[in-house]
Each structure stands twice: as C-alpha cells, then as structure tokens.
Amino acid sequence: MASRLQTDRHNQIALDRPLVLDSGAQLAKPTIAFEAYGTLNAARDNAILICHALTMDQYVASTHPVTGKPGWWSKVVRPGGVIDTDRYHVICANVIGSCLGSSGPASIDPATGSPFAMTFPVVTIGDMVRAQAMLLDQLGIGRLHAVVGGSMGGMQALAWAAHYPDRVDRALVIASAARHSAQNIAFHEVGRQAIMADPDWQGGSYYGSGRVPVKGLSVARMAAHITYLSEAGLTEKFGRQLQDREAKTFGFEADFRIESYLRHQGISFVDRFDANSYLYITRAMDYFDLADPHGGRLADAFRHSPVRFGLVSFDSDWLYPTAESRRIVQALHGAGAQASFVELSSPFGHDAFLLDSPEMWRLIAGFLEAGR
C-alpha cells in the first residue's frame, strides 16, 4: 500500500549541517517540514514557534494534506486571532522522527536507499528542539518572541527555554510536564507493544510490503485516546449508550457507543500516522526529564533564566496533571525565573488544550502581548 504519508509533498528544507543526537548518533542532513504564517518583520522580533503534540503535525493552521481537515489550532492561529498572524510570524515544524515530511523512520536512509525503519536512531525531545533551532538558523531567525506548545509541544517549549534561554523571550507551556511519569511511560509501552505484536509490523520493515500494522497502531491509538479524555467527559458524551442498536447483542461487536468511537479513532489514525514514528516519538517523550542532567534538581535547568514562563494546566487532565505544572512552577521559583501559572477548569481532560477555551485563549493573547 503506497501510503499517502509517503507520497504527499510538504513544505520542507534539508538542514545544511548534521544533526547530532543525544544518543551520540547523527543524521547527516535531515529534512525538516514546516508551515509558516504571517510575515517576519524587519526587526525579526515577531517570530513565534509553535511546537506540536505527539500525533499532531506542522499543519497548525492549514488544511491537513491527508485528512483534509482544518489545522489543529486554526481557531487560535489566524489573522486577527489569539495568535495573530497579521502581527506575528508563526512557524510550526514537524518534529524529527515524525512522518509528515521531517526525517523519520519512514524516510529513505541515504546509506542504503531503503527506508530507515528501525535503523532510524532514537531521538529525544532535546533532539527535536535542536533540529528546530537549526531550522530557525537557516530561516534567519535568531530569537523567538515566544515558543508555545501543549502536551509534547509544552515539553519542547520547556526544552527550548532550558537549552536556548537567550533565543526565547517567553515560553508558554500548556497541559504538559517536565518529565514523563511512570504512568505516562506505562501507557506508551502498552501502545508500543500493541504495534510490535501486530504480525504486519514485521520488525518495523513493513514499508513496501503492502501491509502496515493497522491493528497494532489502532489499538495503540485507542489506549492513548482514553488518556486524553476524562471519566466525567466520557460519561457525559457516551455514558452507557448503545451504538445503533436497541439491545446488547451478547457478542463482541461494538455494542457501546464508546467502543465504536474508539475503534473509529484507532482506524482513522492509521491513515495519517506511521506506526514506527509512533514508536519513536513515544520513546522520545518517555526519555524526557529536564531534571535528569541536573541530578534531579529541576530548578538547575532554569537557573537565572531570563525567559518569561507561562504555564497552564486543566483540572481534569490526569495525563499531565496540575501537580506536574506546579512542580515546574516551584522549580522556576527556586531558579529565580519569572513564572505565571493557572489551572483552568474543564471537563475534557488532557484534550482541553485543543478545544475551544475562551479563558485559555484570553490568557494566551495576554501573555504573548505583554510588554510588546
């Protein structure tokens, strides 16, 4: 099956230098796909980098080439919007290891002429950020007015602030954490094992075989999707309602609406995401712990940071709960950095950051505008 993923064209450039990875491996001249909106001003000080979450992509405000759906944050990033593309130059790059144009396991290994598959080096959140910094170098953007991200995007925003404090004016970290918890890793491992247990995965070398691990990736997505919601949200939306039937079938079809919904989420994900990329990116998140290089002292990652930090959590988010944001705030206080934090109320769990939230939108706009 020639996946649209491999044939679609994206706006991309090849980095002019090797990307040295945290593992010690390097990628010769990796490709980075990105979308840009608005105009970089003459002073070059109006650039905002948006970092995307695990299964998102660079199509933050433009139509997704595979699904045809509007960008995942198109209500926020638009002319006159919360992140106003009439005033800001907004960039969003597909992370390294992903599958929408940036180098990843589905890319061709120049050494062999075949897809990397599992020979693609393991990447980290730090590597994603380093690749973005190199992209910005090539685009002539030295300094960012802001780096903004939710979930894994928030991890990148934190890593940006920690690794490039002099290139970032402010970092907005939404529904995120400075480390992956045991529970976070556990859910990811369930997803990875589901993919690897699918015979169609073929040790990762499924490209060109005509088969992809549809079942494995779907199950991975189904499990993960539950973690993005909340029990209250699920109860409100689905309860125990049956799907297109009057009574239980006493079988294993998708009797319940929630089952049908999850199956749909799983199957539709396969069309727009590469299973190996899912393995690599979840691994990158699991390895993420900003305090690790500092003997567990998170404050030391931000010592005397000039970056202004804004953190937002949601009260029903159990994937990256408020306590994780508070831990970052505490560390920022210890580091003497300037931090703002608010916990917003929402019934929608982790996914709240992607949904309509006028309260969050006002806050984002205020945080980005302040001092300009």
Binding site: R308, G310, R326, V329, Q330, H333, G334, G336, Q338, A339, S340, F341, V342, E343, L344, S345, E359, R362, L363, A365, G366, F367, E369, A370, G371
Partner: protein
C-alpha cells in the same frame, strides 16, 4: 495609560516599597498593586492569587502571577527569594495566620501585612447592642459566608508579633482613607497596615 486608583491600604503600601525591590504580592487579585509597583517603581514584582479569573486577568496585564493558595503554596518559594512580601487583606482569611507570618519572613526579610481591625468601634457597637456578628462597611458579609475566618484586632496583631519576637518597623492605621493615630488605632482604625521585619 493612567493607573487606576488604588485602594487606600494598597496606595500606602505602594508608596513605601523602595524602587527596584524584589516583591511578592500574596493575594494579588487582578494585579492592580503589582502593576502600580512595576510601572512606578520598576520593582521585580511577582504575585500569588487563588482565583483563576484574577490570575488570568493579571497575566493578561503582563504580570507574573501564579495561581495558588497563600497558605500552602507560599512554601514553594525559597528562603530570601524576595526583599519584601505583601499580604493585604488575606491574613484574616487563613487557617493559621501565625504560620503565614512565619512564612512571610522566611521568604523575605520584611513584609507588609494589612487587615481589617475587628475592634473598630462600629464592630464593637454592633456586637454590644446587636449581639450579632457585625456586618459593616468593611466587613460587609454575613458570618456564615464571610471568607474572614480569623478576625483579628490591632491589639491581637501587636501581641502576636511581640510573642514571636518580630519587629514592627512601622504601622499605619486608616479610617476610611484618612490616617488615624497609633494611640486611637484600637478603636478608630478600620484598616491596619504593619511593616514587620525579622527580629
């Protein structure tokens, strides 16, 4: 943009804060005092506030405000991370005002503490003649819904800091927006503002 008029106790505190100081405003509301300090005194001012709508409003003004409970989250700040801590109209709402005062002087060598004086003559009269918990201009909420769970008087506060060996560097007493004397404060002050320091 002209600064909005500050509440009298906040105006008094704002006038006393030295320029360039590192300040934590605990219970900062929507950041009115913080904005005044930042704009007029170039202070490095941070805020702590419990109400998310207020926090959002303050962040929208470009202020660094953290949502949290003064009582618990003040512990997150390292020793001596500020020059001055400000606790305005919050002491009487806490479960353990004595511990909050200890925390204030842990994170900063000096602190402003302001509170409504429960021994103001109107309050005394209301209790004496009415026999009911007073509802006054300053304490406008009935006993069952007031956030003020530890009513405190000027004398109570003086006793507490004396017992703790805390220095009172200055005190101001307000009746409405007018100052009232030290000697008459116990009866006449509606608001008291103390500048306390480690003993």
């Amino acid at each position: 943009m002209s600064a909005p008029a500050l509440r009298p106790d906040l105006a008094l505190i704002a006038a006393q804060v030295p320029g360039g100081a590192r300040v934590l405003d605990i219970g900062c509301g929507d950041g009115t005092l913080m904005a005044a300090l930042r704009d007029a005194k170039q202070t490095d001012v941070r805020g702590l506030e419990i109400d998310p709508a207020n926090v959002a409003a303050a962040i929208g003004r470009g202020l660094a405000v953290v949502q949290g409970d003064a009582e618990h989250d003040i512990a997150d700040y390292p020793d001596d991370s500020f020059d001055i801590a400000i606790l305005s109209q919050t002491l009487q709402t806490s479960h353990r005002p004595d511990r909050i005062i200890d925390q204030l002087l842990r994170i900063a060598p000096r602190a402003f503490v302001s509170f409504p004086n429960f021994a103001h003559w109107r309050v005394r009269l209301a209790l004496l003649w009415g026999g009911r918990m007073p509802v006054t201009r300053l304490l406008p909420v009935a006993w069952y819904e007031t956030p003020n769970i530890h009513h405190v008087t000027v004398r109570d506060f003086r006793d507490l800091v004396r017992e703790k060996g805390i220095k009172v560097e200055a005190a101001w007493y307000l009746s409405g927006d007018k100052p009232t004397s030290d000697a008459a404060a116990s009866w006449r002050a509606e608001h008291a503002i103390f500048l306390i320091a480690r003993g």
